[in-house]
């Protein structure tokens, strides 16, 4: 008797427990994604009726994909992302690692204060941060340009053609270092003290301990933050959109997501935007999987 009920419960219970997650996944992820894919092969085309004709949704095959992939502006957006990412990602991760190591160093003072101070910018919403920096970049309102002007050096063209990438990356770095630092720091705290102690007894300097003991042990955290940073870069949208009205450097299609937004809501072409979204999503997925595969062995295989 007892064995049978146990077996029966065993067959049903897992499905019951997994049901809420599956339902939510279907309702809010799978079905919308499927609909976006469906939408991406549709197009709004003119049919008769009305004085100018009326736009109706019809099947257009892969037309939207062809248009997206042959659009030089869309592809140029990825180029700009790459340039932006090359500045933002290494600096964010580098600074986060540096701060985490400094906080972890036994001799450092005011640790709690420093941790909060470095983390604080992360708590500021991205749009607020962008506006804040925007004001600090514009010549009339910038305190930096005020200083250089007073010193007779002229204004700093923060939003000019060369400086726009570092200026934008700076906003991301300012906001992102704290978060990444916390992840790495938490990982550092998880390293058994004996390892550092042993190295110290062997005569290793703090630099050598950091380089040869701590950093290899927090590699999984570095991979994780690296992945976040990479995906975050592919999804840059808020900062350039907020700064766009302040400079002619940022076009409406500056990065891929802005391009998608423009097609969907300015040009009223949801199908085209859906196709671009699918391409971006698949691309992000591929890049993420490749990054994980490449780093998995080194990061996760080594220690466990």
């Amino acid at each position: 008797m007892t064995r049978r009920t146990g077996a029966r419960r065993g067959t049903r219970a897992p499905y019951l427990f997994v049901a809420p997650a599956v339902l939510l996944f279907l309702a809010f992820l799978a079905i919308p994604i499927a609909y976006a894919v469906y939408l991406s092969v549709r197009g709004l085309r003119l049919t008769g009726g009305g004085i100018f004709g009326t736009r109706q949704e019809v099947f257009v095959g892969l037309d939207n994909y062809v248009r997206t992939l042959t659009d030089p502006e869309f592809l140029a957006g990825f180029g700009r992302l790459a340039l932006y990412g090359l500045i933002a990602v290494p600096l964010t991760l580098g600074l986060a690692l540096l701060f985490a190591l400094l906080l972890d160093y036994a001799g450092s003072r005011g640790r709690r204060f420093a941790r909060t101070a470095i983390f604080l910018p992360y708590a500021i919403p991205g749009v607020t941060a962008s506006l804040l920096w925007g004001f600090m970049y514009l010549p009339s309102t910038s305190p930096f340009s005020y200083l250089t002007r007073e010193l007779g050096l002229g204004e700093i063209p923060f939003l000019g053609s060369g400086a726009i990438y570092p200026s934008l990356a700076n906003i991301a770095i300012w906001g992102g270092v704290g978060f990444n630092m916390i992840i790495i720091y938490t990982s550092l705290r998880g390293i058994p003290a004996e390892l550092s102690d042993a190295a110290r007894i062997d005569g290793a300097s703090e630099w050598r301990i950091a380089w040869h003991v701590k950093i290899p042990l927090v590699a999984p955290a570095l991979v994780l933050t690296g992945l976040f940073a990479l995906i975050g870069t592919l999804q840059v949208y808020g900062e350039p959109t907020t700064l766009k009205p302040m400079t002619t450097e940022i076009s409406q299609t500056w990065v891929p997501l802005m391009h998608i937004y423009r097609d969907a809501f300015t040009r009223d072409d949801l199908p085209l935007a859906s196709a671009a979204s699918v391409i971006l999503a698949v691309g992000t997925l591929v890049v993420s999987v490749v990054l994980l595969k490449v780093t998995q062995k080194r990061a996760f295989g080594g220690m466990s």
Binding site: L29, L46, L138, S251
Partner: protein
Amino acid sequence: MGIRGGSSTFAALGMAVLLTACSSGTDAGDGAAAPQAAETGPVTLQFWCWGAGKKEKVEAFNKAHPNIQVTHTDAGGGTDTATKLLTANRAGNAPDAACLEYQTLPAMIVAGALADISAQTGDVKAAFTPEVWSLTSFDGAVYGVPQDIGPMVFVYNRKRFDELKIEVPKTWKEFAEVAADVRKKDPDAYLATFAPSEFGNFAGLAQQAGSSWWKVQDQTWTVGIADGPSTQVADYWQGLIDKGLVKAEPLLTPEWNSQLNKGNVLSWPSALWGAGVLYGIAEKQAGDWAIAPLPQWTEGDDRVAFQGGSAIVVSKNSKHAQAAATFAKWMNTDKTAYDIQIAEGEYPAALAGQEATSASEPPKLVSGQKDYWQVAAKAAQSTIPHISWGPNVSTAESAFRDATAAAVRDKTPLSEALKKTQQAVVDDMKSTGFKVAGQ
């Protein structure tokens, strides 16, 4: 949000989800325009509109109409409201009535978003001049009741003009001379700025020069964004920028506002609503400013185009088209309504409203100008009739913004930017299936 931790692998797909949420079949809510038979009880209408004074107007309407109660929502400025209305229409939940800028009407008609209210508006047609009425009527169908119009005028800082002892330019040639004079007398100041992204403004200047950006005959379109007069206007501003006589930079940014407040931007060739906009950013300069007729290409001429201005439309989704039409008419022809409008500095589209302005105080920014409303009325009477906008103005606007911004940045000719815009517009129309002549 850049490199922030909160992002997940699927956030890019999330964008697709967002897109999906805003879209459904295209044929939602067909034919709701038919007059409703004897509605019982109070009807509740949803109404989207931006701008000052709309809330007061709606409250006044509700007070006067116990059977129709209107809820007002500010869905953002002209461009935002237009895009939101399109998406809401597709989802089948557009508001009953909304404000729309005249240039976005053809796109809305092509999307099948608006109800033809010609049957309900026959009684107010005579309350408008034919030029104004033609802004919302196409081939006998009426898609809205005109609310306010924006004839272009020259808005200038009279106090600074007096300080520098310069005269208001009457022609664009004089405008260039005055611009040079300003640079000589005060190196920090500019007569005006050229804002690369100001599509409506440039369209107005091009129309004044004789350009026609869209024309339609027998469902075949002609696009003239890069035609002769447009190119002439582009080359004119190019010359001013190249000689450093005007500054090419975006409008209404913290930077621009700060320069304006310092008295370094002396004028804004814009439209009648310009004084209201500037008051919002330079309250301290109230009374310093004035308006004058827009400079002309030929001396003695007085043609100007409309820039901006809006109408109240009834959406096809509306189940109460009759009530919505009643609302649209009252909002734009009743005395209570246009009195509120005038107090906010808007120039009413209705004739009675325009006449009422002569007895009104000028808006706060230009409170020192006694003949403000006379200058305004003159501009309104000199507008170019039959301005035709195309079915993809938003595409044109976004292409224009990017192309001109790039031209200013890379120091390439503005006329090339016009050609690029023209190409983008024609390509977009052709891919949608419009017949475009000569392409």
